[in-house]
Amino acid sequence: MSAVKKTTSEQLLNDKWDVVISNTLVKTALGFGFGVVTSVLFFKRRAFPVWLGIGFGAGRGYAEGDALFRGGEAGVRIVNP
């Protein structure tokens, strides 16, 4: 038995969703973290940098998920020939 499990075609999308959701969560958390740091360091502990960071993270996650679902590599947009 090989170490890598061979995914059947039915599980393609499920795998993709796994990647997308995990990626989005990670990026959102990172954004949140950067937002907190920025807010504490530069913006006198106001609320908006945190929201901004969350937004950036979530947006990046969404965009990369979008690219993944459209079939290209994340960050590379495939233009229809």
Binding site: S9, L12, L13, G65
Partner: protein
């Protein structure tokens, strides 16, 4: 959540500023009824507002105007002339501006086509003006347009490159002059000029009239004495000869010298000198003629002598040539005869040789013919012998032949029987193998097909159909194919996944997939064999086909999906296709097995 604590400080600052402004405005306006605003919770030192005194020394000018409260009345009668002129000015301005704009519009319409269309359509009289200007432009550029072309037989006036100019003429103008050009020089005028030149310089006419001297030799009396001015006397040298000179010529020389002397000294040459010269020249001429005659006679005599000599020589040479010719002729005759003899000898020898060769060849041919005849004779003899022997043995030999034929028949038959037996055996083996294949396909679990296929290949041998069918079996099927039940079970896992992406649009992203997942839950689930091309119908039809065990139909239905739905179903489709292919090939092989049975 972070709380901004500095907001409180900011609000306090605002309050301070506001109160200060209020104080300053109160002080300025001197209002009595203003109440000081009390800011709740403020600890700033806002001093209570003192009641302002009614009269403060520092009231600004504005207060007077503020106290009056009404605007100044407009000037009464003085406004009318301003208004009138204003109206006129306005009219003037409008008309000037309108004219400028109109003219500008016309000009721009001539430049730009789009604006021209707009202008001619919407502006009143715009088209007319533009047309007028355009026509004028056209007339200016092509003044001859529209006029008839000149006919060729009309008289034409051409102006040369220099150009033409005009001049005023009176009533007596007779047309252009046909004579020479105005500045041309007439011929008689030229001659007159030469004559005038001659008159101007008469003195230096020819100093030495040489032709005049030669011609009047026989007529010395007509000679006119030459009168030359003293200043123009030529300095003529005398002829002097160093060596000996002919005496007659000497006379000539003396007379010439006398003439020159006379000319040099007196400037005139009288007839005496000329006569002496002429006489001496005549003497010389006579002498010359006599000499010439003498020489001529001598010359003719010499010529005659020479002619005689040449004639003699000629005769001698002729005789010599004739002799030589005769000798050469003789020589050639002899040579000719010798050559003829030689050639005759050669031909004779050749003829003899040819005759000999021909004889040899002919005799050889005759010998060959004889040998051939002998051989033929021997052959005939041998044939005769064989024939008689055969006739004798006929009965026994023919019997042997029949035996041999029968033997050959029997061997062929036995071989055929053997081959038939082989075929039958092979057919049986094939049937066994095919049976095992069918059993493998119908088994409830996956059976590896590799050994069965190998067996079929072995048994099939050279049969092209079996070879092709075995080659067509997909390699992945060697490990076995899924049963319909397994395929159905797998399809049950596949169907929900396909449903999730049933509403995914083309080139969808996260939102598309999420939306599809969400809204597919609202779709009706279908059963049986519904008609339609939507995903639910296809899935229902595929499921019912699988329930009936018709894998081919199910595969065809799932194959009709597209996009992500098909992508998800790829593996299942591959398995299904494998199954159907193997089933089909098994059927084909079964038919071929039947054909084998009927072969003999």
């Amino acid at each position: 959540m972070l709380r901004i604590t500095s907001a409180r400080v900011v609000s306090q600052q605002h309050q301070v500023v506001a109160s200060r402004l209020l104080h300053s405005s109160v002080a300025r306006w001197n209002v009595t009824n203003v109440r000081p605003t009390s800011v709740p919770g403020s600890s700033s030192p806002t001093a209570p507002i003192e009641n302002p005194t009614p009269a403060t020394p520092s009231t600004p000018n504005l207060s007077s105007s503020a106290s009056s409260g009404t605007p100044p009345p407009p000037p009464g009668p003085s406004s009318e002339p301003k208004k009138r002129y204003a109206f006129r000015k306005f009219l003037l301005g409008v008309s000037v501006l309108g004219a400028i704009v109109y003219g500008g519009g016309v000009w721009f319409a001539l430049q730009n086509d789009n604006f021209h269309d707009f202008y001619t359509e919407y502006i009143p009289f715009g088209e007319r003006i533009v047309m007028i200007i355009e026509e004028r432009e056209f007339q200016r550029r092509f003044p001859n347009a529209g006029r008839k072309p000149l006919e060729d037989d009309q008289p034409r006036v051409t102006v040369h490159r220099g150009g033409a100019t005009w001049k005023m003429v009176g009533d007596d103008y007779k047309g252009p002059s046909t004579g020479p050009h105005v500045s041309a020089v007439p011929k008689d005028k030229g001659e007159q000029k030469a004559a005038t030149q001659k008159d101007i310089v008469p003195a230096p006419v020819t100093p030495v009239p040489a032709p005049a001297v030669a011609s009047p030799a026989p007529e010395p009396t007509k000679q006119e004495p030459l009168v030359i001015k003293e200043t123009l006397l030529p300095k003529l040298p005398k002829f002097v000869f160093d060596g000996t000179i002919d005496p007659s010529l000497e006379n000539v020389v003396i007379s010439i010298n006398g003439l020159f002397t006379a000319l040099s000294t007196a400037g005139a040459a009288g007839p005496e000198e000329l006569g002496a010269l002429a006489a001496s020249l005549g003497e010389v001429s006579n002498k010359f003629v006599k000499l010439k005659a003498k020489y001529e006679s001598e010359l003719t005599e010499n010529l005659n002598q020479q002619a005689l000599v040449f004639a003699l020589q000629n005769e001698k040479q002729e005789a010599d040539y004739k002799q030589q010719l005769a000798a050469v002729d003789e020589k050639w005759r002899e040579g000719y005869f010798e050559e003829r003899q030689r050639i005759m000898d050669i031909y004779k020898k050749r003829l003899i040789a040819e005759l000999k060769k021909f004889n040899q060849v002919y005799s050889a041919r005759l010998r060959n013919e004889v040998a051939a005849a002998n051989a033929e004779k021997d052959r005939l003899f041998a044939e005769k012998v064989v024939e008689t022997v055969e006739n004798e043995r006929n009965s026994r030999l023919s019997k042997l032949k029949e035996l041999k034929a029968a033997f050959e028949d029997i061997t062929a038959l036995s071989a055929k029987v053997d081959s038939q037996l082989e075929i039958a055996e092979k057919t049986a083996e094939l049937q066994l193998a095919l049976g095992s294949l069918t059993n493998a396909l119908q088994a409830p679990y996956t059976v590896p097909l590799a050994p069965i296929i190998a067996r079929i290949k072995e048994v099939g041998g050279e049969d092209p159909l079996i070879v092709a069918a075995v080659a067509a079996v997909p390699v992945t099927a060697y490990d076995g194919v899924l049963t319909p039940a397994q395929l159905a079970a797998r399809f049950k896992l596949l169907a929900p996944e396909i449903r999730k992406v049933s509403l995914v649009p083309v080139d969808a992203g996260v939102a598309g997939f999420f939306g599809s997942w969400l809204f597919s839950k609202l779709l009706w689930k279908k059963e049986g064999k519904p008609k339609g091309t939507d995903v639910e119908s296809v899935l229902a039809r595929a499921e019912s086909a699988l329930i009936e065990g018709q894998v081919f139909e199910a595969v065809r239905e799932v194959n009709s999906l597209d996009g992500w739905r098909k992508k998800l179903a790829e593996d299942w489709l591959a398995e299904g296709r494998k199954r159907t292919e193997v089933e089909f090939l098994a059927r084909v092989l079964g038919e071929e097995g039947k054909v084998w049975q009927y072969e003999y």
